[in-house]
Amino acid sequence: MTIFDEWDAPREPWMLPGACRRGRTRRLLLEVAARTLFPTMLVFSLYLLLVGHYSPGGGFAAGLVAGLAFVLRHIAGGSVGFGMPVPVRPPVVIGSGLAIAVLTALVPLLVGSPALSSAKLAVDIPLLGPVSAQTSLFLDIGVYLLIVGVVVDLLRSLGAGIERDMREAEEWLP
């Protein structure tokens, strides 16, 4: 019973970025894994985004997978490695995603169709040949961006923000 009493009440905080239980050595394995997995997961998320129209996937799932990639990176690298690949504030990413989605909804009004109508766009791209896509893909892209932004924002607030509070309360020193 004592084991059951103890196992889930650790004496140290969990999931602190870049910190190991004793000392300041980074968890090498985790970090390497994160560095390898991060781009892989991002690519996988793009795949999910694009195939969403045909098999399970779509903007949501894709965004969440990409978001989890950032989570992994945060846990492995902490605030040190934290952040977007490009220097942009998460709320802006969220806002952009939302804006893209709403604009996708509004644009059809300009051509006289009902809001949120979609159409098939066929574009002839050099080298690739004709590519056709549903305009609703833009909505999916908006969703994808927004979800990635939301997850990164959560890392910023619930992750880094709480860690900062802990630092200031001197409950944890990185």
Binding site: G52, H53, S136, A169
Partner: protein, 776 residues
């Protein structure tokens, strides 16, 4: 006519600008419109006494709401009071309010506003129009009685006047709606011409009378009127003697021609009227404040008028019109005299005033004229009215006639007595009291007094002038208003009233002693009712609004259970042949989810609970896969993972155990029981409802058919999310957007420092930094 009413309000709104230059001039300007109104009404006396002058403005026709006005004989008589006396009193107010008075600006504007809405009230030919102006008079009265609101007695009197009159007013509104619905119209002239009948009318009339009684200070609602005497004297003279308090009487007079033959109408009116006349008269005999003497006198006279107008019959109606005018013309000067005396002598306590008869002889004569009219002495208008009143009920005979006549006689004795008491109290030289030093009032004060007192005398002598509108109101007949009807019972009654009144006055010391044993005090009734109401409010609110979140949530669940449970039991049936499972994997997965759910309940540590929630989440995702929903399952897996991460992020800083004080065992059992019942009800309802489905989904086949070509997607779920129901998706990411912003604002901007100083904050008290610091 609407324009005339509105003109009052517009000028009233502009009056403060005049006041800013001269406070006296404001009252002078204010007096112009009422005077013009009186002139307009008199100029239209011909049509008014004949067919009537009407005008209607539509407001909300679907609701039968229109502003409909009609100038007829009764309205004409009321305009004499409302606009005629109004103009006189406004002139008087020029002298009453000093040039530096702080109350003058407000009072001038409000008095003119009042004159406007009162004009609208007496001209209204529509029940709803009448109600509109009726309540506006209540509000204006509230503000005029309250004045600056800095004195406690003003505040209390104002609130009492408001509550009592609005209580009646609201009841009356319901009565009006009932009457209007029964009659199919709100037009008063049409209703009176063809009175509706039936239970709705029977219900409507008492409600309407409640409005009339409260407004006209009838038993047992009368105490607000004496209390309202804390207002400045011009306000008392105008609102609480000449015009507003007549509104109830006026309403009875308006509707009586249609309903006075119904017992539900005349019995309450006569009982309340006679009772009020007697109680008011009796109380007036014991007041020492001259204004309160007059106030109770007004109460008494209002009872008298109620009886005259409500009992029915042509002669009573004639007497009613005469008394209506007479009362305005004697009560207004009497009030103004009190105001003048108070200014001149510094007191209105009749025990302190002495010898004013010699120092203010002019006022004393005017007072004598007005008081004589009040007491019913010839040749004043008050005598004419009273004679007719006695004639009406003595002529009617029978038990009812004699009972009313004797009641009126008793009331008239009291009236004569307090008239004498007023004259004596104000002007007599009292033994043992030194003559009160006075300074003479100016002509702006005395002229209005004389004008109105003399009008009572003039109309008494020139009684045909009153007879004309009275007959136009009451209908043609043989009996007419006159000073001399020959010797008879009415004259005898008048004589008894005067003689008896003087006797009572002479015996005043004994009467005073009797007053100590007053068994019934309506003022206490009012105060008790208010205190009781507040007590009920606190007790009910204390019991109902307990302030506990678990109690609120429990209430919601109880409501769901109580409403839905029985309805399902009675309304539905458990399906026959309900399958145990559709796919065998559902059983172990469901079991795992259920066990985890029950374990969560028992978990004492946050981390355990979160892990168990994860088990539930993944289990549900598994159920989604089994159910043929791979997209949903994928989303559920990912979301659950992300939730777990978020939970762990937060749990890092929280204590390992749930920190809540243990609840009593009984409370826990109650919660568990309620939760179990709630869960059972939801699951049961779901089964019953799903079994009751008769048609397949309206859209399922369409979605599958349309998705490949219409939406360009083989994945129907994706097609629904980004095409068929894309708006839901936009809304959903909107929610995410909002939630993310909310989380950031809660966690990052833990404390907003207004002055922009990032002073350091104690540990555990949040971060001093703005959200913006982190954003930027």
């Amino acid at each position: 006519m609407l324009a005339l009413v509105l003109a009052h309000l517009v000028v009233a709104a502009a009056l403060p600008m005049v006041s800013a230059r001269s406070r006296r001039a404001a009252f002078g300007v204010a007096a112009i419109l009422p005077a013009l109104t009186l002139a307009w009404a008199l100029a239209n006396a011909g049509p008014a006494l004949g067919p009537g002058l009407t005008s209607t403005t539509a407001w909300a026709p679907t609701l039968g709401l229109e502003l409909s006005f009609r100038l007829d004989a009764l309205a004409l008589a009321m305009i004499v009071l409302v606009s005629g006396i109004g103009a006189v009193i406004l002139v008087y107010a020029m002298g009453y309010f000093g040039p530096t008075s702080e109350d003058a600006t407000r009072s001038a504007a409000l008095l003119l506003t009042f004159a406007g809405v009162m004009l609208g009230l007496v001209l209204a030919d529509d029940l709803l129009t009448l109600y509109v102006f009726w309540e506006l008079t209540s509000v204006t009265s509230f503000l005029l009685v309250g004045q600056s609101g800095e004195k406690r007695e003003n505040r209390r009197a104002a609130v009492q006047a408001l509550l009592v009159t609005v209580l009646g007013g609201l009841a009356m509104l319901l009565g009006f709606v009932l009457l209007g619905e029964a009659a199919g119209t709100y037009r008063i002239s049409e209703i009176v011409a063809a009175p509706p009948t039936g239970p709705m009318v029977t219900a409507a009339l008492p409600l309407i009378l409640l409005g009339a009684f409260t407004k006209s200070a009838q038993l047992p609602f009368h105490p607000w009127l004496p209390a309202a005497m804390v207002a400045p004297t011009p306000v008392s003279a105008y609102l609480h003697a000449a015009s507003m308090v007549k509104a109830g009487v006026y309403l009875v007079a308006r509707l009586s021609p249609g309903f006075s033959d119904l017992a539900v109408w005349w019995v309450p009116v006569v009982v309340a009227g006679l009772g009020t006349m007697l109680i008011g008269g009796w109380r007036a005999l014991h007041q020492t404040d001259l204004k309160r003497v007059l106030a109770f006198g007004t109460v008494s006279q209002l009872g008298f008028l109620m009886v005259l107008f409500g009992a029915g019959g042509r002669i009573a109606a004639l007497g009613g019109i005469a008394m209506l005018l007479a009362h305005g013309l004697f009560k207004a000067p009497l009030f103004m005299i009190v105001g003048a005396v108070e200014h001149a002598a510094g007191s209105r306590d009749l025990r302190k005033l002495s010898g004013l008869r010699t120092s203010m002889p002019g006022l004393a004569v005017a007072a004598a004229v007005a008081a004589a009219s009040m007491a019913g002495l010839p040749p004043l208008l008050g005598f004419v009215g009273k004679e007719t009143a006695f004639e009406a009920f003595l002529g009617e005979g029978g038990v009812r006639g004699w009972a009313i006549a004797l009641g009126l006689l008793a009331g008239s004795v009291l009236t004569a007595a307090y008239s004498a008491r007023f004259l004596w109290g104000t002007f007599a030289a009292k033994p043992g009291v030194a003559p009160t030093p006075v300074h003479a009032p100016g002509p702006l004060t005395t002229a209005p007094i004389w004008l109105s007192a003399a009008a009572g005398l003039a109309l008494g002598i020139a009684y045909p002038l009153v007879d004309a509108p009275a007959e136009a109101y009451a209908g043609p007949g043989e009996y007419h208003l006159a000073l001399w009807h020959g010797l008879g019972l009415p004259l005898l009654f008048s004589a008894i009233a005067i003689g008896g009144g003087l006797t009572v006055h002479v015996l005043r010391t004994r009467v005073d002693r009797l007053a100590k044993h007053s068994p019934f005090d309506a003022q206490h009734g009012y105060e008790g009712a208010i205190a009781g109401l507040e007590r009920v409010a606190v007790v009910v609110t204390g019991r109902v609004q307990v302030g506990s979140l678990p109690a609120y949530l429990a209430t919601i669940i109880v409501v769901v259970v109580v409403l839905i449970g029985p309805a399902t039991l009675f309304g539905g049936a458990w399906p026959v042949g309900q399958p145990l499972y559709h796919s065998i994997i559902q059983v172990p997965l469901g079991l795992a989810v259920a066990v985890a759910a029950l374990a969560v309940v028992k978990a004492r540590r946050r981390f355990t609970a979160v892990l168990l929630v994860g088990v539930i989440g993944y289990g549900v995702a598994g159920l989604f896969i089994v159910g043929g929903a791979p997209d949903l399952a994928l989303a559920q897996f990912l979301v659950e993972t992300l939730s777990l991460v978020a939970f762990v992020f937060v749990l890092r800083r929280l204590p390992a155990h749930f920190t809540e004080q243990p609840s009593p065992r009984r409370a826990q059992w109650f919660r568990a029981g309620l939760a179990a019942v709630g869960g059972t009800v939801v699951a049961g309802v779901a089964v019953v409802l799903s079994a009751a489905r008769v048609a397949p989904s309206s859209t399922s086949a369409d979605f599958i058919a349309l998705a490949p070509d219409g939406a360009g997607a083989d994945n129907v779920i994706a097609a629904i999310l980004v095409d068929f129901r894309a708006l839901d998706t936009v809304g959903e990411i909107g929610v995410l957007f909002v939630a993310a912003a909310g989380v950031a604002s809660l966690v990052l901007a833990t404390r907003y420092d207004r002055k922009g100083l990032s002073a350091s904050v104690e540990s555990g008290q949040g971060s001093p930094r703005h959200e913006e610091d982190l954003v930027g």
